[in-house]
């Protein structure tokens, strides 16, 4: 009857009445019989008031039209809090963790709705919970005559409380996101949750961080965040039951996105944050490590760009001496703020070289679990370093060595670890393309790498792959973009193409559909001919045109099985012939191209 009557009172009277009589109603609540569900009563009251205040805000703008209203608004949270405390007292020893948490959750929701940004209230709610739980732990220990658990986490909360606690800790994430780290007891309360629930809360937190775009302001904050989200980072434990609920890909995605949010106006701090991130992510286990370290590599490459931009703008960062990479300096933040004035003159900006070393070690770490990915990353890093070469600047740093070193590592890794044929082909494509794009290598270094590339190409498993890749390598020996003193070996270019011709020949014997290889080759002969390779004369072009015509006619005549492939190759061939014809009348190229007989 009491529950029904109270409910009636709450429903029947308008909000204004309740505001006036709130204190009376709240005083009664603790006196109600045990079986009455106080929580639902308080919750419905709080919800009514929250809605009412929200509407008032919209209508009047401010709540100062009525002094009573305003004073009650300011007092309502403490009033509810006080009431809740009285309820606890009235319950006495029968009070359970679950009930405590539930009521604090209701208060928390009320606070977030009506007093957004009031961290103190949130702290009080969390504080009440943790005090009660710790007390319960103590009582439990005494009852069982065991020693008091040293760590919070060692005390096992009952299942129902776990569910409630998880809910409670998830609620503020939407509005507060990263700010929860500033709360007194948030991380402490998390420790009472078992692994799985902590993981769920962490996922919600990471999602909130991603939506808010909030970033940790200090290395210390980042460290704390990482310790909270550790259940998301690591591979499932061996004895963990896979309930199928765990979405590894989603976890990897959210953590990866966190890495991209790490920014600080002081680039040294950004770098430190990436170091911290890498330290944690490298412990994620074999399955995930390669996925999680990739964003670290790209974030670091982005950092290199930022450093260059800053240099270009002539700014000098106000930072400390570069710290040893391996110690994530928690003092980093304090020294930047308290740096004595004279240090500004002697401090050095974050150097690209240091970041490249970091990138290199990171890629090496993930090479163990995904060699192909590591090869590609080494190549990207090499290109990034190559792009830093600026002959006009008086920057003393020499990136040629770094570029070369990274390329060598890529090549080495390819040799040692890449065994599957498709993977090998993909790597060779990437290696040749990257090498061709590099501008800063010495002729000697370039030549040794180019020679290696050709060797890898020739050793691929399938003849078609060998043919295509050796053809691709021909570009390396006669790079169009390299200047007067650039590497050039026209003869080797021809040798590549001639070798490819033989391979194409061998391929088409087995499968006529491979005739496209000849057309691809013709494209290359024409290309180098057009670019004045001294040893690739019109004779080669003329000869190859005739050869292709012969092949195509014989395949058409015999109605070859691979007629679609042959038709495609023919179409490609016709396009190329048209292109040559066009060039025979082009003002700049006619003289050269007229030499080709079709």
């Amino acid at each position: 009857a009491q529950a029904y009557l109270i409910d009636c009172i709450i429903q029947v009277f308008p909000d204004e009445y309740h505001i006036e009589t709130l204190s009376i109603l709240l005083a009664v609540c603790p006196k109600l019989r045990d079986k009455v569900n106080i929580r639902t009563i308080l919750q419905s009251l709080m919800d009514r008031l929250a809605t009412y205040y929200a509407e008032e805000e919209l209508l009047d703008g401010e709540l100062d039209t009525n002094e009573v209203k305003k004073s009650v608004f300011n007092d309502s949270f403490p009033m509810f809090e006080h009431c809740v405390q009285n309820v606890y007292n009235a319950r006495g020893p029968k009070l359970t963790s679950k009930e405590v948490i539930r009521l604090q959750t209701a208060l928390l929701k009320f606070s977030l709705k009506c007093y957004p940004g009031n961290m103190e209230q949130v702290n009080r709610c969390l504080g009440t919970c943790i005090t009660f739980i710790r007390q319960a732990a103590q009582v439990g220990a005494l009852a069982n005559q065991t020693t008091l658990p040293e760590e919070d986490g060692a005390f096992e909360l009952d299942e129902a409380s776990v569910v409630e606690l998880e809910k409670m800790l998830s609620i503020p994430l939407d509005s507060l996101a990263l700010k929860v780290l500033q709360l007194d007891h948030y991380s402490d309360l998390l420790r009472f949750l078992p692994w799985e629930n902590r993981r769920d809360v962490s996922m919600t937190m990471l999602g909130a961080i991603d939506s808010s775009g909030d970033t940790p302001n200090t290395v210390k904050e980042l460290e704390e965040l990482f310790s909270i989200i550790s259940p998301v980072i690591k591979d499932p434990e061996e004895d963990e039951e896979d309930d199928g609920m765990r979405d590894s890909q989603e976890e990897i995605n959210l953590v990866s996105k966190l890495v991209h949010l790490l920014h600080h106006h002081d680039l040294n701090v950004t770098h430190e944050m990436l170091v911290v991130a890498r330290n944690h992510l490298s412990e994620s286990g074999e399955n995930r490590e390669s996925h999680l370290l990739v964003p670290v590599v790209f974030a670091s490459l982005g950092l290199v760009n930022l450093i260059q931009t800053k240099k270009g703008e002539g700014q000098k960062e106000e930072i400390t001496e570069p710290k040893e990479e391996e110690t994530p300096a928690t003092e980093g933040e304090s020294t930047t703020e308290d740096a004595p004035k004279h240090k500004k003159a002697t401090s050095t900006p974050l150097g690209c070289r240091k970041v490249f070393v970091f990138i290199q070690t990171t890629i090496t770490m993930l090479a163990k679990s995904n060699a192909e990915l590591a090869v590609k990353l080494f190549l990207h890093a090499a290109l990034a370093s190559d792009a830093l070469l600026d002959p006009s600047s008086d920057d003393k740093e020499d990136f040629t060595q770094i570029t070369h070193e990274l390329l060598v590592q890529a090549f080495f890794l390819h040799e040692e670890e890449i065994n599957e044929p498709k993977s090998q082909r993909r790597c060779v494509v990437n290696m040749v393309a990257a090498l061709l794009a590099c501008k800063s290598l010495t002729n000697q270094d370039y030549e040794s790498l180019v020679t290696k590339s050709a060797q890898y190409a020739a050793k691929l498993l399938k003849k078609e792959d060998q043919c295509e890749m050796v053809t691709m390598c021909s570009h390396l020996f006669y790079p169009i973009h390299k200047g007067e003193n650039g590497y050039s070996n026209p003869q080797r270019t021809l040798e590549c193409l001639q070798r490819s011709l033989k391979l194409a020949d061998a391929s088409t014997v087995a499968s006529p559909g491979s005739v496209y290889l000849f057309v691809d080759l013709l494209e290359h002969y024409v290309y180098f001919f057009e670019h004045n390779n001294p040893v690739i004369t019109e004779a080669y072009v003329t000869g190859l045109i005739a050869l292709i015509k012969e092949h195509l006619e014989s395949y058409k005549a015999t109605g070859s099985a691979a007629s679609v492939a042959v038709a495609n190759a023919d179409a490609q061939f016709q396009q190329l012939l048209n292109d040559i014809k066009r060039k025979q009348t082009d003002s700049k190229l006619a003289d050269r191209f007229k030499l080709i007989q079709m």
Partner: protein
């Protein structure tokens, strides 16, 4: 011009039957690299990518691990090619017929030297297409070459590239009406969407 800008956004919000006046719409995008290098497609672009308005989506590759399903929902036809980071289940090249145009698609890291239109022309001839779409450079381009067109939608997320220093998020929309194409390039510059357009039509065996 402001007139054009207003006109285009009006067109964007139209119902399907009016859309038919613009022909088939082909969304062209790529190099998302989510979450390796970027977190999401920029908000202002996301709002424009509404399902049901386009007939085709062409992706130059490097979608990443998250967006594939979203792309599939945008249009009845999704054509993705293999990038250099993942996507090994996709083919390296694709040819799509839209109106009278044969459109070839390749990621582009395989076409060397990078950034060379001569090299792209080689691929264009190989695929026997009127328009060649490629990505990889993260730099959008609409270039006429030998009477044909080379289109690069750039990176829709503005992802990091080791070969292009400052990447502007961008994508392309093609409005194909039998033998005419209007090509719209959308860029996100200082937080605002900017559009530019190119028109071309097909004559006999080459484009003008």
């Amino acid at each position: 011009s402001p007139y054009f800008f207003f006109f285009f956004f009006f067109f964007w919000n139209n119902s399907f039957h009016t859309m038919a006046n613009f022909g088939e719409l082909v969304l062209v995008l790529g190099d998302l690299h989510i979450p390796h290098r970027a977190n999401a497609i920029p908000e202002k672009f996301r709002r424009m990518l509404v399902p049901g308005k386009m007939q085709h989506v062409i992706c130059t590759g490097n979608v990443g691990t998250e967006q594939y399903e979203d792309l599939r929902e945008l249009a009845p036809n999704l054509h993705v090619v293999q990038g250099d980071f993942g996507g090994e289940s996709f083919p390296e090249t694709r040819v799509v017929q839209v109106g009278q145009f044969r459109i070839g698609v390749i990621h582009g890291h395989q076409v060397i030297p990078w950034k060379s239109h001569e090299a792209l022309a080689r691929m264009r001839r190989k695929l026997c297409v009127d328009i060649l779409i490629s990505g990889h450079t993260h730099k959008n381009e609409v270039v006429e070459h030998d009477g044909h067109f080379h289109i690069n939608p750039g990176s829709i997320t503005g992802a990091y590239s080791s070969i292009t220093r400052d990447v502007t998020p961008s994508f392309v929309l093609l409005a194909v009406q039998s033998d005419k194409v209007v090509c719209y390039v959308y860029e996100l510059i200082k937080g605002e969407v900017e559009v530019s357009k190119t028109e071309f039509s097909k004559k006999a065996d080459h484009l003008l």
